[in-house]
């Protein structure tokens, strides 16, 4: 990057918030994936106006800009894949408004998801999107990635709670999308288009989210199985029977052992699998549903069903579940995490298939799934220093994605395409679809300075 551009960046945000020292660049060269790219500078804006001025400067000088939240992403989306600056939003982290009368909140993009959840909870409101990384990820990041998470089965994903945004275009222009009302059919729905764009279209500087009244009570059930198939079958049956739990997570014995190793919560490490199920709502409904779900699990082969007795117990179980990805790291230095999602009636078959594929390719496997919505997260621990093992992991992932395509699934349920899955895009998106998506990108970012090297560019077709 030219020195005069750098000087101008410094004149916008000051020296402290424009970093170029090697230790700073290194610290912004990674996310939670295996990819690493060094940016040329890291800029940490504190206001929309600063973001706008930075983008104007960068578009005038054709400097690449990659937006970054907490970098808990799993596919290199927030990395400066072709150099340029990383624009970190962690210092724009204020909750600007929580409107109880109209049930919405306006936040800056750097607010951490669980901080927003806690803030609205204190006012008896509820922000449902709950990615496993809620304690790490920022709202801005989850919006750009359209993060899903544990509550998808009942409450949907980030996109379902977006009302509007203030965005800055690559040119530096500031624009509003959406409103604060629940209904809004004025023009194209740009809010929901930008959501899930993986930071390729525009930068969100304010985000308006819809809130729900907080469910009055919640019960967490831990159903323990001696067979992984039975656990998977239970999920399909629950959904088929028309019961909608708030969450429905499946863990196999390896995941439970890893979590237990760290958390010591009494997870049944001798069992083959367990389901962690939440039911929430009015007390009478919850009590009734807890019994129905519990019986259901037993009928489908659960050897034991434990029902939580307190909020603390609920919280402990879920906090433990959140550590799964990190806990698996005890097994090997790296861990590939698959994200293909299948129609829920195929859950049992899909789990069998992934076990078969991993066995064939001699890949270690731990099965985790947001089972209620068919979102599988097979975890494949490996050592990146072993090239052969890494190649086998990649082959297993290729085969699993291919399989998911044959049964009407998607290559990614919630983690995004990023660098990992761009190669699979043509399996799911037609040339026409890809052409239209690239034209949309062009109309937002004609120079292609925003998040270069993203999925649309890496995609082979």
């Amino acid at each position: 990057m030219k020195q005069d551009v750098l000087n101008k960046l410094i004149s916008i945000v000051g020296k402290e918030r424009c970093k170029t020292a090697p230790e700073d660049l290194l610290a912004y060269s990674y996310d939670a994936s295996i990819h690493e790219f060094m940016p040329e500078a890291v800029v940490l804006p504190k206001s929309t106006e600063e973001v706008s001025r930075i983008m104007k400067l960068c578009s005038e000088n054709k400097v690449y800009v990659t937006p970054r939240g907490a970098a808990s992403g799993l596919g290199g989306e927030a990395l400066a894949k072709q150099g340029g600056i990383v624009l970190s939003f962690t210092m724009m982290n204020n909750i600007l408004e929580i409107n109880t009368a109209n049930r919405y909140a306006i936040v800056e993009p750097g607010v951490i998801v669980s901080d927003l959840q806690k803030a609205v909870d204190a006012l008896n409101l509820f922000y449902p999107p709950d990615p496993g990384s809620a304690n790490v990820a920022t709202i801005g990041g989850t919006v750009m990635m359209n993060a899903g998470g544990m509550r998808g089965i009942k409450y949907g994903v980030t996109r379902d709670y977006l009302l509007g945004m203030e965005i800055v275009l690559p040119s530096g222009e500031i624009m509003k999308t959406g409103t604060v009302t629940v209904k809004d059919v004025t023009g194209f729905d740009l809010t929901r288009l930008i959501c899930g764009s993986e930071g390729t279209l525009a930068l969100a500087t304010k985000i308006t989210v819809r809130l729900l009244p907080k469910p009055k009570t919640k019960r967490t059930l831990l159903a323990i199985y001696d067979s992984l198939d039975d656990a998977g079958m239970t999920v399909s049956k629950i959904v088929e029977a028309g019961i909608i739990p708030a969450t429905c997570e499946l863990m196999d014995t390896i995941v439970m052992k890893a979590i237990e190793d760290y958390y010591h919560l009494g997870f049944p490490v001798d069992a083959a699998a367990a389901l962690l199920i939440d039911v929430d709502g009015d007390p009478e409904v919850v009590e009734r549903q807890a019994v129905i779900v519990g019986d259901f699990c037993k009928k489908c082969g659960a050897r034991d069903v434990r029902v939580s007795k307190s909020d603390k117990e609920n919280d402990d179980l879920w906090a433990a579940r959140r550590t799964a990805f990190g806990a698996i790291a005890r097994l090997a230095p790296q861990c590939a995490i698959e994200d293909a999602t299948v129609p829920v009636s195929y859950l049992v078959e899909a789990i069998k298939k992934v076990i078969e594929i991993c066995k064939k390719n001699r890949v270690r496997l731990a099965v985790l799934a947001h089972a209620g919505d068919g979102n599988l997260h097979p975890l494949m621990p490996f050592d990146g220093r072993d090239a052969d093992e890494q190649a086998r992991v990649e082959k297993a992932m290729d085969e699993f994605v291919e399989y998911a395509m044959t049964i009407g699934g998607t290559i990614s349920g919630e983690h995004g395409i990023g660098m990992n899955k761009a190669k699979y895009l043509p399996q799911q998106l037609s040339p026409t679809s890809l052409r239209i998506q690239r034209e949309i990108k062009k109309s937002f970012d004609p120079q292609g300075i925003l998040n270069p090297g993203s999925f649309l560019e890496v995609c082979p077709l």
Binding site: A21, L26, A27, L44, I112, V136, T323, A329
Partner: protein, 408 residues
């Protein structure tokens, strides 16, 4: 050298980021390099020879409270705090510590100079303190809230052996520099309570500063003399326990001595024998039925967990149980009681801007309880909390002081 086990653990970090939410410093500055994940990744690059430590890296490394919250929250089992402590020892070989720290550490290591410096401090410092500007600050701590030095060191106020007629126990007592020179009432209280319970007390006069402020700054060689001397004095076998009423000294003798000697390739047999006997005073008192000794003390108290007790030594319930036993005392748990107060030894001076934000959150939690008394078993926390209390009407004490009062 960073020990092999810690070097290998670096590869367990899957960069999930859970440590960042837990880290009070990261939550304040919002810069990746200051986060535990960032530091671990930078150390990995140094290990792999891909990054030569810079002055900027040193600053990031020391922008850390060593509160250990990252370690206890790491699902991948990385001992982040130990890694950082080890790295600090490496980095001070390359970048020297500032002269003020070197001077302070050499005082803490000298049997003769420390008492002498403290004596002059009393003669000159205490009267001079009244001349300091009222709204001035040392780091984040208001001058007006700095404690005065003890008139006489605690060690000079008691005999070395305090026998009991019918001994119910026999302990070595390690008061630590803060109790010895600043907060003497903690020592009076510990001795009073132990005596009342019939415990025989040995308080070796030649004990040295535990050395923790020195070796956590990376100057392990400097601290080695203190460690060896203390091991020699406290290694005696004929006692039930070594009693400590300072969270920091406790973590030094119970945990840190072993790791340092081990990592420096020194003999660890003596420390292994000693560390098992080290107990925080609140842990030791668990074996006694205190109820019959206690008289009512009125007040509303909340408890702040020192990092060096709750995480380093896993002491969480004992001090609370003590406070709850005092009749007339209302106990109010604060939100985030185990979150670091922001003191971190000299951190609050070196990084006053970061510390003040962290401490402000702690002060709000305290205010929300409506308690007039804050109990905490660490002199550093005490200084930090009281020093930032502004117009709040609170006193900050060691739990043992309240217990002693209830035994009047």
């Amino acid at each position: 050298m960073i020990p092999t086990q810690l070097q290998e653990e670096v590869y367990n970090c899957i960069k999930c980021g859970i440590c960042m939410y837990a880290c009070p410093v990261y939550r304040q500055v919002n810069v990746e390099g200051a986060s535990p994940r960032g530091k671990v990744q930078l150390i990995k690059k140094i290990q792999e020879g891909k990054f030569e430590p810079t002055e900027g890296f040193k600053n990031l490394l020391f922008t850390c409270l060593l509160c250990e919250t990252c370690t206890v929250n790491c699902p991948s089992g990385v001992h982040v705090d130990r890694l950082l402590k080890s790295m600090r020892a490496e980095i001070v070989k390359k970048f020297k510590l500032p002269w003020q720290k070197r001077l302070a550490f050499s005082l803490l290591c000298s049997e003769k100079m420390l008492p002498l410096a403290m004596a002059w401090g009393r003669v000159l410092g205490n009267p001079l303190m009244s001349l300091l500007p009222k709204n001035g600050k040392l780091g984040t701590v208001s001058f007006s809230k700095l404690p005065k030095l003890n008139k006489k060191p605690l060690l000079d106020q008691y005999p070395e052996v305090m026998p009991s007629e019918k001994p119910t126990g026999k302990v070595l007592y390690f008061p630590g520099c803060a109790t010895n020179y600043i907060f003497e009432n903690i020592g009076h209280s510990t001795i009073k309570v132990l005596k009342k319970l019939g415990v025989e007390i040995y308080m070796p006069k030649d004990q040295m500063c535990c050395g923790l402020p020195i070796f956590l700054a990376g100057a392990r060689d400097t601290a080695l003399g203190n460690i060896r001397k203390n091991l020699e004095i406290f290694g005696r076998k004929d006692v039930d326990a070594i009693i400590i009423d300072c969270a920091t000294c406790g973590s030094a003798l119970k945990e840190e001595y072993f790791h340092i000697l081990d990592e420096m390739g020194e003999d660890t047999a003596a420390v292994k024998k000693m560390s098992g006997k080290v107990m925080d005073i609140t842990q030791y008192l668990k074996r006694f039925d205190l109820k019959k000794y206690l008289h009512p003390v009125k007040g509303r108290v909340t408890y702040h967990d020192p990092c060096h007790l709750v995480r380093s030594q896993k002491v969480r319930s004992e001090p609370r149980d003590l406070l709850k036993q005092i009749p007339g005392m209302e106990f109010a748990e604060m939100v985030g009681a185990d979150v670091c107060c922001g003191g971190g030894g000299s951190f609050q001076i070196d990084h006053a801007d970061v510390a003040s934000g962290i401490t402000a959150k702690k002060m709000k939690s305290i205010a929300d309880t409506g308690a007039g008394i804050v109990a905490s078993g660490c002199p550093g926390c005490r200084l930090q909390i009281y020093g930032n209390s502004g117009k709040m009407e609170i006193t900050v004490v060691h739990p043992i002081e309240l217990l002693a009062k209830a035994m009047d």
